[in-house]
């Protein structure tokens, strides 16, 4: 199994976690870490890579592209929705820059090499 996920950074204060919740995706806060959750689900071999730099670059690319295509996007989405999406991406980018949000790629296998969700 492999998945990419946006997380709140380690060691945030309560206000930092609230900011992660405000600026990150819906379920950005978890009660446990992903490695711990994966191990509790039976995955014995868990690897992860930090992909925050790419996450930042992609968020910036979304913002830049949104600005380039703003006229067509406003027409399709409506001015209010367009403005909210643009604002949310900018807030998320600032949170990435401030070390509040990060993105990781996880790869997990069962001890036998079989994924609990499949045969391999």
């Amino acid at each position: 199994m492999s998945f990419l996920v946006i997380e709140a950074a380690d060691g945030l204060t309560e206000s930092g976690r609230r900011r992660a919740a405000r600026t990150g995706p819906d379920a950005v806060l978890t009660r446990s870490t992903y490695p711990a959750l994966l191990r509790s689900a039976g995955f014995g071999h868990v690897e992860f890579e930090d992909r925050t730099a790419e996450y930042r670059a992609t968020q910036q690319a979304w913002i830049d592209a949104t600005d380039r295509h703003s006229a067509g996007l406003r027409e399709a989405l409506g001015a209010g929705d367009f403005a909210e999406r643009r604002r949310a991406r900018a807030a998320s980018l600032a949170a990435i820059d401030d070390g509040v949000l990060r993105r990781r790629r996880y790869v997990a296998m069962e001890p036998s090499g079989r994924s609990p969700d499949g045969r391999a």
Binding site: M1, D26, E54, A65, H69, L73
Partner: protein
Amino acid sequence: MTAETLGRMADRYRVDPVEAMLATEREALGSDFGANGYTTRAQADELVDVLSLGPDRVLLDLGSGCGWPGIHLAVRSGCHLVSVDPVEAGVHRTEARAAVEGIAVRSLAVIGDGEHLPLASDTVDALVHADVLC
């Protein structure tokens, strides 16, 4: 999953992707599926090797949304694809895109979620999900 969460997810499909939206996505991600996440084409391409995908493998894309990156992975690798998403509109978009890409014969898109997977045990070889848990 609450009805509110499901409604918010379904709202993403309120507007069919127009050229401005697809152009924005192409520039940000390198895809044109109507996606709005952060998995770029380069990151998706990595997953072909990470998950050892090939024609003899069945991939489950959980929370498949509009079909990105599952369909791309199936096209690149030749694998069979099962896409699962709780939003009916997303499942329909995935089915339509699979047909456009010529992989409908080895692609199945169904409504469901991770808590209630509509699959028997031991039916897939690899699992991917991107920007789903958050």
